[in-house]
């Protein structure tokens, strides 16, 4: 699994000011520590960047490239900023992201800068309501991209993970869709903004949801994920170092009901989390205790 590290983000309390003040040190330190922690890509999220976004994106790309060769995922909704970043990016960049509303402005950038792209399944009418609507948007997206000469292999589909505390049917739909992706778009890659699944959950409990949901999506061939790279357990799972956990999650997804008293404390947490993420048990902040 390819891991894209999420922490260089304008929303972050420490990195936000550094980006705005063009202070390279905290950003470079974080870039290095994310690579050391196992990041394959670094996501550079400057948000909508309406004012001087182009200058900011170019600056952060250069700043990060001074300390690492890791490939970059350029994350902004501002197409001008995106292009400015692509211009100075040395390696093969990942455009994060392109959705149907931005085809015209951004699909040409993929070819022009020999980049790859994340295809975000956010339709013209907003968030798709279920797996089928995700399928419709993928079909649209692949058609438009192929027309521009972009091959399936250069597209990383993001089916959109949404918080478990908001709408469980969306959580299920995202998994269901992943099981269909290869049939709809053969050869396409995939990624997901994983931490979103635990948005709104108490901070110290978020890793359980993030890890478990990742395993559930990996089962359907998840190619990569945008993650909190400092969760070392999550990295270990992604690197195939926790086969017994993956096996356990798979079995519970298949409906097996392991005797909780025979499991370790950690395994029990995974079992309870799968049951919440499959909708079998209703989420509450105390889901690990009941």
């Amino acid at each position: 699994m390819i891991l894209i590290a999420e922490s260089i983000n304008i929303m972050s309390r420490s990195i936000g000011p550094a980006l705005r003040n063009r202070d390279p040190k905290p950003i470079q330190d974080l870039a290095k520590s994310q690579v050391e922690a196992g990041a394959d890509y670094l996501d550079l999220n400057i948000g909508p960047a309406r004012k001087a976004g182009d200058e900011l994106m170019a600056w952060v790309v250069n700043t990060v490239q001074e300390v690492t060769d890791a490939p970059l995922s350029l994350d902004t909704t501002n197409p001008v900023a995106m292009e400015a970043g692509l211009k100075v990016c040395k390696g093969k960049a990942l455009i994060n992201s392109i959705s149907p509303a931005r085809f015209e402005e951004e699909l040409p950038l993929v070819k022009k800068y020999n980049a790859e792209m994340i295809g975000l399944l956010w339709g013209l009418e907003g968030m798709p309501r279920d797996a089928a609507e995700r399928g419709v948007i993928v079909a649209e997206l692949m058609y438009a991209a192929n027309e521009m000469g972009i091959s399936n292999e250069e597209i990383w589909i993001d089916p959109i993970a949404s918080p478990v505390s908001v709408e469980i049917n969306q959580v299920k739909a995202c998994v269901e869709f992943m099981s269909m992706l290869n049939d709809i778009a053969p050869g396409a890659k995939s990624t997901v903004g994983l931490s979103n699944i635990s948005n709104g959950t108490p901070d110290h409990l978020r890793p359980w949801l993030n890890r478990t949901y990742m395993v559930m999506l990996m089962r359907h061939g998840l190619h990569s994920a945008i993650v909190d790279i400092f969760d070392s357990e999550l990295v270990a799972i992604a690197h195939g170092e926790r086969p017994q956990i993956v096996d356990l999650v798979d079995r519970v997804m298949d409906g097996e009901r392991p005797d909780l008293s025979s499991l370790s404390e950690e395994e029990v947490k995974y079992v309870k989390t799968v049951r919440v993420l499959t909708g079998e048990s209703l989420y509450s902040d105390s889901w690990l205790e009941v």
């Binding site: 209703l282 989420y283 509450s284 902040d285 105390s286």
Partner: protein, 316 residues
Amino acid sequence: MAFEIPKISYSGKVREVVLGTGDKAITVGGEAVYPFYLFEGEMPRLPRIAMEVWDMQPDGWPEAALEPFAGVTDDPVAWAKKCIDDYGAEMIALQLISTDPNGLNRPAEEAAAIVKKVADAIDVPLIVWGTANHDEDTEVFRIVAEQCQGKQLTIGPVEEADHKRIGAAAIGYKHTVGASTPIDINLAKQLNILLGNLGVSDEQIMMDPTVSGIGYGIEYCYSVMERIRMAALTQQDEKLQFPIICNLAKEVWKTKEAGLPTEEDPKLGDVKKRGILLEAMSATVLLLAGGDVLVMRHPEAIRLVKEIIAELSAEQ
């Protein structure tokens, strides 16, 4: 092949909660099926209606809502007695409107004294509802819980922020809590878990999912209540298997439509009938979503809703 009507398979049951004490105590809950799905199973306790009494002279009520209580609205004890004696109320819900810090801001001791007087004057179960101001409610219920020990009151709203303090009072003096959350099933479950962790027994919890009246988002309330019941009855979610209380009268009667004079918008129809029907229809919607206790105001709306309950539960 004969046609077979599909049936839902239920695996859970709503817990029974006893409100009040003595001959007039009322047990609510116990459903093992969706509301009024009597062709699929048991609903041993029919929904009940608590009549609303305010602890101060109401301000801004439409004429239609005041009329039945003429002469007693300045005296909560007389008001409660009138509800019972004249309108056959099986339960009273005393709304502690006077404790609102942005309103009359009546001190906790005084508010608690009124609760005590009402509790002593009636023999039907008493629900006491605060203003959702955490400090105020905590203070009032601390005193009320102790002074009304043995009466098995229902006290609420108990929210996450004050659940420890009010929950402790409920445990100590054996009252039922109205666990209140803002129209969110996950938060409702979480509060029930927290109350359980605190030591509030399962027989002391009713859930208040936060409701509104027709035209003010009642669909959303319906949907959340429906999902609560689905989780409770078909997914064995033990932390949601509690009776539901709907504090609806306040919400219905404060709307513009409930009180707009007939001549100001004739197509809305007669103002008196309109208010009553808005209350009765809102109550019906909430009944069908799974309400076990409805807090209502107008005797005529209550009569209509009781009729509906009787019809929906009649033997075929």
